[in-house]
């Protein structure tokens, strides 16, 4: 399966990249995606997640072709 992972704002700078493609077989949830990109670390509480541009939780399931995004609390307006 392939997952497009995107990072925004301060998290993008911390990760040193805006996006990447993951090709693993065993990514069941958003938490799994985070672990895959962060060498096994747990998803911090102050990182927000979206799957296909809708807000998602750590246990939201992911499937082949999904776009998963991680970002800090939003500060628009």
């Amino acid at each position: 399966m392939t997952i497009r992972v995107r990072y925004f704002a301060a998290l993008r700078e911390q990760m040193g990249r805006a996006e990447e493609q993951l090709a693993f077989e065993d990514l069941a949830s958003v938490a799994d995606v985070w672990k895959a990109v962060c060498r096994g670390k747990r998803l911090p509480e102050d990182v927000l997640c979206a799957v296909n541009m809708d807000y998602a939780g750590a246990d939201t399931p992911v499937k082949d072709g999904d776009e998963v995004a991680f970002f800090p609390p939003v500060t628009g307006g």
């Binding site: 995107r6 925004f8 704002a9 541009m53 807000y55 970002f71 800090p72 939003v74 500060t75």
Partner: protein, 151 residues
Amino acid sequence: MLIEIRSEAFDPLAELSRYQDASLPTARIGALAVFIGTMRDFNEGSSVHKMTLEHYAGMTERQLQTIVDEARNRWPFDDALVIHRVGELFPADPIVLVAVWSSHRGTAFDACRHILEALKHRAPFWKKESLEQGERWVRTNTDGHAPPPSP
């Protein structure tokens, strides 16, 4: 109903005039509530000479549409206009315009304020401020319901 993300400076009052003149039967509506947010030249005790607004293109529009639809279900208003800047901003540049037209003033105020608060909490925008000492990301929004504590 119009929701726009702009990468260039815009004039909120001119946009309002244009939108209203082009699409609204004002003689049937009666009430317009508007909020305009402008970039300030200071924040948390520092002077800010530039701001960069990043957004998640696609998700932003989707979230804003959901917010406006939710508000309209709760307060059945006639029309709404939402414009938000992204990119490089300078002090006094408009950041956000939220306008709601309704036949009832309470509805216009309630929906306008709700859309603004929901936008601040859910639309994926991020502000980075340029100070004399360097850059910093804004970490959280201020509370919209009470004035901030005195300095």
